[in-house]
Symmetry: C2
Subunit: 226 residues, 2 copies
């Protein structure tokens, strides 16, 4: 089994959340499957100093930076489709909402990169599972917006502690036509009909051990849908 | 228990090996301890395009880039000593041999950053464990060179498959006064007398699952020495 992992750079504030990406790779291998990292060969929206949170006067390419997490092996998104992938995993990190879509700036009214929309739609249409971690359900929502498919997604729960305003994110998902599941950090939501798995991860206050367990659960649920 | 993790950037070819760093964090939390990421506030030796292996015309700071792995929380190495740390973990990645020492260019004749030497020597003198993953045993060797302490270290085994020439690395370690243990990817070496644990990790051909198991074993052995 070959599981695609779509990266958007290397670092939570301007690319893929590194810990989530690495722990997704680990969970996939633990389950006996292989992974293929995937990226767009385009520049990031911007570059953030991860110590200060301030923007840096630099330009970085998503595929080049993603190769740091992947140790060099990153495929072009154009070469990836349901014929070569058994499932697709979307790690979190602001790259999903800044580079692969404009959700961070425009909310539900934002755009999604056409290559990302095409890959997600093709996977769903082919009946192959898609797993969205952390903020990445926004990509699934934007990809399926306006279609006959109304996925049920979670980005966490308003009952748990979070550095973000979960109800606002959930309201945005609803605006795209998705349905909402409230899930705590220990839980994932499985939309069995549409073969879509989502997990809160670092949308909620969590340490790396909780992230590890949340991702392991999400990957196992995803592979069970293949 | 607070375990220091010394980072040197974010990416195997010019900084810390990301997967090793994340899996060290995970293993520490799994063992019930906490970690504190640490870095030098200095520029990397250079910046490598991780897709092509070529040098890029950029400058990146070790502490700023390490914050990508650490999600922002990175302490200055000057603030870290045996009074605040119960053990020290040194993940691999060429940053250890390019930024924290000049081993990648000068071998055993190279230099080590004084702040790194001081931290390692202080930990060893205080009887607190030090764990070197992958290429990082070169830092332990350079820190203790010329002292009365002759640690036994491993960077892998000439019997296993490796992208590197393990006997050359081991010969270099010997030149500093260290003793050598040959260890495969499934093994770690524990120098109980000096409380130093080393593990081959990505010095050998390995997948992320083998790296995970190797690091878990190394961290558990390190914490057992506290």
């Amino acid at each position: 089994m070959k599981i695609g992992i779509l990266l958007s750079g290397s670092g939570v504030y301007d690319g893929s959340e590194i810990q989530e990406a690495v722990l997704a790779m680990l969970a996939i291998k633990e389950a006996g499957a292989d992974y293929q990292c995937i990226a767009l060969d385009k520049n990031q929206h911007h570059v953030i100093n991860h110590l200060t949170g301030e923007e840096m006067n630099e330009t970085r390419n998503m595929k080049v930076e993603s190769a740091r997490i992947a140790r060099g092996d990153v495929a072009n998104i154009q070469d990836m489709n349901p014929a070569v992938l058994d499932a697709l995993v979307l790690p979190g990190g602001f790259g999903a909402a800044k580079n692969l879509s404009s959700w961070a700036f425009d909310g539900a009214a934002g755009t999604i990169a056409p290559e990302v929309k095409l890959l997600i739609v093709n996977m769903v249409n082919a009946g192959k599972p898609v797993c969205g971690l952390c903020v990445s359900p926004v990509l699934i929502a934007k990809a399926l917006e306006g279609s006959a498919i109304h996925p049920t997604l979670t980005m966490g729960s308003s009952k748990g502690k979070s550095p973000y305003v979960i109800p606002d994110f959930h309201a945005g998902l609803k605006d795209t036509g998705a349905l909402i599941a409230e899930k705590m950090i220990g839980e994932v939501f499985v939309d069995e009909k549409n073969k879509i798995v989502t997990a809160p991860c670092y949308m909620m206050d969590a340490n790396i051990l909780e992230i590890r367990n949340n991702i392991k659960k999400a990957i196992e649920a995803t592979l069970a849908l293949i």
